[in-house]
Amino acid sequence: MGAPRRRVRGAESDILMDTTNLPIPIGTTVMIEHAGETMEEMYVNMGPQHPSTHGVLRLLLKLDGEVITDCIPYIGYLHRCHEKIAENRTYPQVVPYTDRLDYLASMSMNFGYVLTVERLMGQQVPARAEHMRVILAELQRIASHLLWLGTFGLDLGNFTIFIYCFREREMILDLFEAVSGQRLNYSFYRIGGMAFDFPDGWLDNCRAFLEWFKPRIPEYDALVTDNILFQKRIQGIGVIDAKSAVDWGLSGPMLRASGLKWDLRRNDPYSIYDRFDFAIPVFDTCDVWARFLVRRQEMLESVKIIEQALDQLPSGEITAKMPKTIKPPAGQVYVRTESPRGELGFYLVSDGTPKPYRYKVRSPAFCNLSALPVMMKGCLVADSVAILGSIDIVLGEIDR
C-alpha cells in the first residue's frame, strides 16, 4: 500500500500515490453527517515534510477535531532498491549498503549482515574480533538510544534534553571516528572479522566515556523522567497489549515495553552475548512511557556489557583467514540480531557464486511502524508525535 508509483491527475492534490486500494479517496472531499449537519471530514497530511516524522514518512490523519479517528502511514519516499542492488554486488560489497539501512545504527546493521554471511559459510571469527563487534554494537545501541531520547524530547517540546543527548552521542561518534574514520556510515565489520584493530589509547578513551556517561542518566532523569509534565504527557497513550504486539510482529524495545521478556541477545544468542551478564528491562504498561523506560534502562545495560567486554578483551588476530573471493556454498540462511530497534533479520540465498542469489532484510522499524494505526486510533494530534517517536523509526530501514 502506498508505494509512490504514479501521479494522480485531475485530483485536487498532486500527491504521489497508488490509489487502487486506498480506503479514502485522496483529493476528494468526504462529507459526513454529524449532529444533523453535513460537514466536511478533515484530513491532515503529516509529512513527508514535517518536523516530527523523523524523515520522509507521510501520515494521513483523519481528524475529528483534535481526535485522530484514522491514521494511514505512507512509506516509500526513501526507497532505493537496497535488496535488488545487493543481488548485483559481491558479498563484501554489500556491507557499505547495509550502513544506509539504519543510518543511526550502522554498526548494528554491519554486524547483522556479516554474521549472516559468516553463518552461511560456516566461518568462525577470532575472539578479539567478536569482542570488538560487541563493544562497537553496544556503543552504537547507546548512541542510537541517545538520539532517540533527544528527538523524543523534541517531539514533546523539550529542546534541552536534545542537546544533552547529542553531547554524549557526539562522544560516541568520536570514538567511532577514531576506530573507523567515519562518523555515520562505518562499514567497519568485515566478513570474517574487523577492518582494523582499535587504535592506541582507544580502550582508555572508551572507558573514560563510560565513566562520563553513567552519571548522565540521572541527569536526564532530573530533566525529563522525573518531570511530572513529561510523565503525564506519555503515560497511557499508544497502548498495545502483549498479544497484539506479537500479532503485529513488534520486536525490540516495543515488545519489551508490552511486558514480554524477549531479547535476541538472550533468547537466541549470537556472537558472544551468552558470555555477558546483563538484565533485560521489561515494563508492562504497554504505553509510550514503558517504551521510554525500556530504552533508558537499556542504555545502562549496554554500558555493563561494554565494560565486561573491555575487561575480557583478548589479544590476537582480528580477521580470520578468508579466501580471496567469498563464495558461500549454495544454501540459505536467516540470521536475526537485536538491533537498537528490534529484530533485524537478514535472509540470504546463495547459489555458490560470489553474489547473493536473493537477499532480504527483515527490518524492525518497518514491522514496528505497521502497528502505528492501531496505537494511534482515538489519540489526540499531540499524542501522534509522541507515539510515532516512541516507535523509533528510521526511514532508511523502513524503505530500504
Binding site: 491532515v44 523539550n158 525529563v224 509534565l229 503525564k232 489526540l380
Partner: protein, 361 residues
C-alpha cells in the same frame, strides 16, 4: 511631583493660548508617545530575543550567537530583523488576503495597546485609567482575535488547528487570570495601575516590603501560570507546537509579517511581566539613593524606572527558564488544568481574601 499627565496639561494650555485647536497637541502627544513605545518594544524585543537565545544556549551547554557584532553576538537580532525585512512577502494563493494582511497588525496592535497603562516610574504612565487593570487584561486578550484571523485566513489545516487551540486556550485561561488579579485589587481597593503601586508602599511587619505577592502568593502563582498560557509560551505553547502543528497559526507567514508576530509575542511577554510587577511586586518601588545634582523626585523616578525594568526582566527570565526546562502539555491536559485546578484555586483565593478583609476591618 510632576507627572506625565500634568506635563501634557501644561502643553495643552500653552498651545491653546496660541489659538491652536485642541486636536493638534493631542495628536502630537499621541504620536510622540506611540513612537516612544514602539521604539521601546522593538529594542526590548530584540534584546529579549537575543537574551533568550543566550539563556537557552547556556541552559543547553552551548554558547548561542557569538559572531554578529563582536561581543557575544549582540547584533544577532538586528541582523535577523534586517534579514526578515528583506525577505519576500508571500501571501498564499488561496488565502483570504485582507484578513491575512490584517492579522499580524491586530496581534501587534493588541500587544501595543496594553502599554498605555503600564506605570514605568512614579508619574510616568501614559494614561492612568481608573480601570487600568481591567483595560489591560481586556486589551491583551484581543491578541487571540488576531491569531484566529491568521489561522483562518491562511487556509491551511495546521494553521486552523493552531488557531482553534489558541481560541480554546485563551478563553480558558482568561478566567483564572482575571480572578487571580481580583485578590490584590480587593486589597488595594482600586483598579488604577498607578494607585495599585501606591498601595504597595511601606512594609509588612516592619521588614517585608508591602508587596501584594506576600499575602497573595497563590494569586501570583495562578496569574503567572495563566500569563504563560496567554503568551503561548512553553509549557503552554500548543497553538504553535512546532512538533505537531509545524508552526501553528503563523505557519504560512514569512518575512516581515512573521517578524511582527514574533515581535508581538515578546511584547506580550513584557506586558504580562509588567502587570505582574505592578500588581504583585510593587511596581517601580525599591530602595533608592539621592543622586547628587538631581532633585530627589527625579532621582527617585530614575531608580523607579530601573527597578521596574529589573523586576520585569526577572519575571521574563523565569519564563524563559521554564520554556527551556519543561515540555509541552497536551491540549486536554491544558484545559483540565485551567478549569479543574487553576479556576478553583483562584476562586478559593478570592473567597479567603474577601473573608479576611471583611473580618479584619
Amino acid at each position: 511631583m510632576i507627572t506625565f499627565a500634568e506635563l501634557c496639561e501644561q502643553m495643552y494650555a500653552v498651545t491653546s493660548a496660541w489659538g491652536l485647536p485642541w486636536l493638534v497637541p493631542t495628536l502630537v502627544v499621541m504620536g510622540v508617545v506611540v513612537g516612544v513605545i514602539i521604539a521601546y518594544i522593538s529594542v526590548a524585543s530584540m534584546f529579549m530575543i537575543w537574551w533568550e537565545r543566550k539563556i537557552s544556549a547556556h541552559i543547553q551547554v552551548r554558547f548561542g550567537p557569538m559572531r554578529v557584532g563582536g561581543w557575544h553576538g549582540w547584533a544577532q537580532s538586528i541582523a535577523d530583523g534586517i534579514k526578515l525585512l528583506l525577505k519576500e512577502d508571500i501571501i498564499p494563493a488561496r488565502a483570504d488576503k485582507v484578513v491575512f494582511v490584517l492579522a499580524p497588525m491586530v496581534v501587534f496592535a493588541a500587544a501595543l495597546a496594553g502599554y498605555v497603562t503600564i506605570p514605568w516610574a512614579p508619574g510616568l504612565i501614559v494614561k492612568d485609567l481608573n480601570i487600568g487593570l481591567l483595560y489591560m487584561v481586556a486589551i491583551s486578550s484581543l491578541t487571540v482575535v488576531g491569531i484566529i484571523m491568521a489561522g483562518w485566513s491562511s487556509n491551511n489545516k495546521y494553521a486552523t488547528l493552531g488557531a482553534m487551540r489558541s481560541a480554546a486556550q485563551a478563553v480558558s485561561y482568561e478566567v483564572p487570570l482575571v480572578l487571580s488579579l481580583l485578590g490584590p485589587v480587593m486589597l488595594a481597593g482600586t483598579m488604577s495601575m498607578g494607585q495599585l503601586v501606591e498601595a504597595q508602599g511601606g512594609t509588612w511587619f516592619g521588614f517585608l516590603p508591602r508587596w501584594f505577592v506576600f499575602p497573595q502568593v497563590v494569586a501570583f502563582l495562578v496569574y503567572f501560570t495563566c500569563a504563560l498560557a496567554e503568551c503561548n509560551r512553553l509549557p503552554f505553547d500548543i497553538p504553535e507546537a512546532e512538533s505537531e502543528l509545524v508552526a501553528g497559526f503563523h505557519v504560512e507567514y514569512s518575512g516581515m509579517r512573521f517578524a511582527i508576530f514574533f515581535l508581538a509575542e515578546y511584547a506580550n511577554m513584557f506586558a504580562v511581566a509588567a502587570i505582574a510587577t505592578t500588581i504583585f511586586l510593587g511596581g517601580w518601588r525599591g530602595p533608592w539613593l539621592p543622586i547628587p545634582g538631581l532633585p530627589a523626585e527625579v532621582a527617585r523616578g530614575l531608580f523607579g524606572l530601573v527597578w521596574f525594568q529589573v523586576k520585569c526582566y526577572f519575571l521574563i527570565f523565569v519564563m524563559m527558564w521554564l520554556r527551556w526546562t519543561l515540555n509541552r502539555m497536551r491540549v486536554d491536559q491544558l484545559m483540565d488544568f485551567a478549569w479543574k485546578v487553576l479556576l478553583p484555586i483562584a476562586f478559593a483565593n478570592l473567597i479567603v481574601t474577601g473573608l479576611v478583609l471583611a473580618l479584619w476591618k
